[in-house]
Amino acid sequence: MTDALETRTTVTLTVNGREVTATKGEMLIAAADRVGTYIPRFCYHPRMEPVGVCRMCLVEVDGPRGATLQPACYIQVGEGMVVNTESEKVKKAQDGVLEFLLANHPLDCPVCDKGGECPLQDQTLAHGSGETRFIEEKRHFPKPIEIGELVLLDRERCIQCSRCTRFASEVAGDAQIDFAGRGDNIEVAPSPTEPFDSVFSGNTVQICPVGALTAKPYRFTARPWDLEQVESTCTTCAVGCRVAVQSSSNRLTRVLGMDSEAVNHGWLCDKGRFTIDSVVGIDEAPLTDSARRIMEPMIRRNGELEAATWGEALREAARIISSATTPSAVGAIGGAALTNEGAFAWQRFFRGVVGTDSIDAQYGDGLDPVLVAALPRATINEAAEACTVVLLTGDLREELPVLFLRLREGLVKGTTNAVEMSASGSALSALSRVKLPIRPGEAHLVAQAIATDDAPLATLASHPHGGLFTSADLVEARRLIGDDGSGVVFVVGRPNVAESAAPIEAAIRIFAERFPQAKFLPTLRRGNVNGALDMGLTPNLAPGQQFAPTAGRSTLEQLRAATTGEQSVIVSLGGDILENVVDTPLASAALKAASLIAVTGHGGPSLAFADVVFPTTVMHERLGTVTNIEGRVSLLAPKVTPPGSTWPDVAIASELAEEFGQNLGLSDPEETANVIEATTGYPCGSAMRSAMEGVVVGRIDAQTERRLLDPMAFPGIRSADLVGIAPRAGSIASSDASVAGVASRPALSNVAGDINPVIPMPDTYSLRLVVDRTIYDNGAAVRGTEALRALAPTSVLRVNPHDLTRIGVTSGGAVRLTSARGSEVIAVVAEAAVPRGCVALRHGTLVTTNASDSANVGNWIVDSEQVVVEVRMESL
């Protein structure tokens, strides 16, 4: 909205005799930081509201009654203020506070995770006395205690700074821990009825200024001085949080959130933070479980997958590909787990060497990449600071958790209003100003209603269970969006993967055409799916987001073609087809019929059908760039050496091309990045060289300065080379000059498809199926991490309480679910957020958490040929 720079006014004050210019409204402690005067602190955290409780930041400020001690984190800079941070009084106060804190603090340093990166240790060394005068018995408590599955509390170490309780309540919105007790027996405590199971719990461990909160997965693993660190990008989802990846003796030990102004503000979700173990995986898991790390090439001989050499596997794969009758009988599915360079290499291989355009990085559960590329893209900051966000997507807290955090901030403050169009409610529903729930098949009708007039309301109201919102809601929604959508960001994705993309894509196009000033943030959620699509792993785009329509098949089309014999070879790139495709029967039939070459880092149910398996490097083992939901290209830095015989995708594609006598011209990721930038203008090379926030494609205005890193706010992150570096103008300018890729981007007119699909209303007994997501699912990250495996929920059907009552079933019971494909019994639970006339199931859940493979259940009823899936539900 308004550029803050224009409204800023400055203030002049004196700090330690020096004149300092500060911004009006700035806290004294932040202003002092900026000019290099460090004031010690514990409770202050730059990403949360100050509370002034630790009293460590007391400084002398002149006032009408002389100089008094004031907390620097709590007072704003004032014109003419005179501040002394080094006087004897201040030093005595600091010494006193430290002595008080250390009085009851246990001498745990030798066994405490925080030792070596501990703000209490560091500040005691700098500002405290060397001895204590405390001769009493220290306070003792049982320790440690589990306050959640992943976080342990050591009460004796806690200094009651309230960073954790403030984070849980203020930032995450999960007030599951609070101070209990009074005075010096205050403790951080959850209620016995509700553990600290927030998906952001790991952040409290990172920001705790002592070792009171420790992470179960990391506890006792390493000492900070043994750790090597590299700055990289998290690829667990497509938000692309900036992370510091740390390893010891070539073993990944820890991931910490880096403070990126543009992306994640220092926060991570627990899935991104704690799933590095999945890089090693669980050795005993069978090949069909995504927990298993694949490290050797394999060929199927006599019905079994056997280890083979790279040469043998490459030759066999080439043989299989050559045996296809035509090039178009070969196709590739997947690509979100690849780097941009890997995706580019595979794209070159399939289009250039094989000669097929049937390549698709999505699994039929995303959005038309041509549409996505045609939309004016918003950055995360723009969405977080928008006047209005329209949410037409799944539950962001499950799918893109840190995006949820970023959006939540403005909604709570009231600076942003949300209009939510959701299929089964979300963690942002309660904060949304207007709720326009959509049943499967209705998204475009609601969009029409918002864009034009109330006419679609009659259609919506003709549903057997009535409409879900009123005309007044619509009026409010229109008012918030405004006339041309300026200041509005549409956050768009697939809230329901049991429904075809048609209604959602139609809705998006309606919005884009009706509100030309609005921006869009697509929520394609898998790791680097955005980069893979931008690199052309999709039938109708060439690398660099260039519109290049072909007759290539999308994933679902490939699978159908496999069942009819039109396609005989499927190459799966990175992900597991059976895990990811929602229409499991279709996927199974396709894999049975066609030959499968699996290029993968992890096992999965599809390997039961694989003929050749190529082991790849994953995550933090490889160099490359990835692209997030904003179109921000950032560096993926390697931290450990790849295990076994794994190869990076660029190498595999190149070697496979060699089998056909062709040279891809891409010898390594770095060269590939430069080739990409040289040939398409897409800034992979620049991003690789930039140590900062990455580079947003075609948006020079979206580059932001790196904030000063406060080591007390983010203990554990090596800050020496990351503090206050200005953006390197050179590399950004080069990306700006590379408008070639941007100029040939598709326009809305290039988007195919019916903007007004007609979907008949269901009858009274028909229910429509919503398949949404859960953060802890059956994917490799969660399955491969012991600490998170047990947190994946089991399959249960969520039903509106009225619909359950109608058939006389109580929540917690079971029902018989019937569709055109068959019938099964499933457990059921009442959930008011599910609209009447719908039932909801989470994709990626298992029958039991001890399931021996990571196959989906419940997906037998999804038929991808249908626009919507109708089911019936009866009591047993």
Binding site: G52, G96, V97, G183, D184, N185
Partner: protein, 434 residues
Amino acid sequence: MAVLTAPKIVSSRSEYTDSHSMSRYLATDGFTALRKALSMHPEAVATEVDSASLLGRGGAGFPAGRKWSMLRKAPVSYLVVNGDESEPATFKDHYLIEREPHQLVEGVTIAAYALQVSQAFIYIRGEFALGLERLQQAVNDAYEHGALGSDIFGSGFSLDIIVHPGAGAYICGEETALIEALEGKRGFPRIKPPYFPAAIGLYGQPTVVNNVETMANMPWIVNNGGAAFAALGQGRSTGTRLFALSGRVKNPGVYELEMVKNTFRDIIFDPALGGGIIGDKKIKAFIPGGVSAPWFTPEQLDIPLGLDEVAEQASMLGSGSIVVLDEDSCVVRAAWRITKFFSRESCGQCTPCREGSGWLERIMYRMEHGGGRREDLDLLLDLCDNIAPGLSWPPQQTTICVLGPSIPSSIHSAITNFRDDFIAHVDHNGCPHD
């Protein structure tokens, strides 16, 4: 000789055993002041209170009129009455709540009218179960009588009063902690600035917080005029106030006395008042205004009972509670127990108070019960200095609220005036008085 000529302004019905009943209240001019006030301009009522120069009757002694004038410009506001009397040895509000609840209700209504607020809260500490019941009954009586609710006595002015129970926390007597408790949270005091209640108070709105006794003065002031109130007392300390006398005196109790005209000697020794020390023992020391106040020794017995007069002696009249120690009282034990009180009641927010009070209590415990060392005396004072730098009065503070700098008062006073007692404890390895 004690000067006992002043009228009973807030305790005029003490002779009646049914002073808490509505019938008795009505029979003794109850609600006449409210009717009179409602016939006046609200500004005029406020002016009367101003002219009384009524200083708040809680611990801080801030001028009530000035608190109000900070508020009169703002559109939305609340009146909150502080009945959380938990300062040790203070028991005057207890009297007013249990024995004169209608007077309190009438006073609050008059004040609300002057401030033009329509919602008032009376926060009473939860341990006053009977007081809460009587006050709720008085509020019910007032509604029934038309003295509360909408269009009071046909004046067009409406007021709702909510009687709100506390739940046992001394810190909730601090005005911002009280507001936090009223908002349904833990009683954590807020940092001032910016959270002065007149600026940002209950629900973030401008709020006036006044003590129970302050409110109880309203009816008399309206009926007799602010000037008549100001004619009593002397200097800045006008009118009468309730003094709570306790400790080793023959007649502990609540006494309403004209400000300044009497001294500590009068209230402690006059046969009509304190009656002297039990067993006619010698007085050793006395605490002039609640346990947050530095102690006085017999040299200060002739100081008048006035705010400025006591302040000049580097202490405070505070809540008007006077505790008397005699020659047999152990000052170390007294200081220890007071320190233990602060440690138990510290809210725990800020480091110096939370950790400091506990540490000080541990040292004082050793001093009193065995294990005290000579070096502990300097240690005690230095730790006190880390909480209230300079150990001056009025104190500076490193803490969020004034509970912090109250902690050193008893320790500092006891060591300064009775160092030998401490040395005796060290040498005796415990209390020699046992």
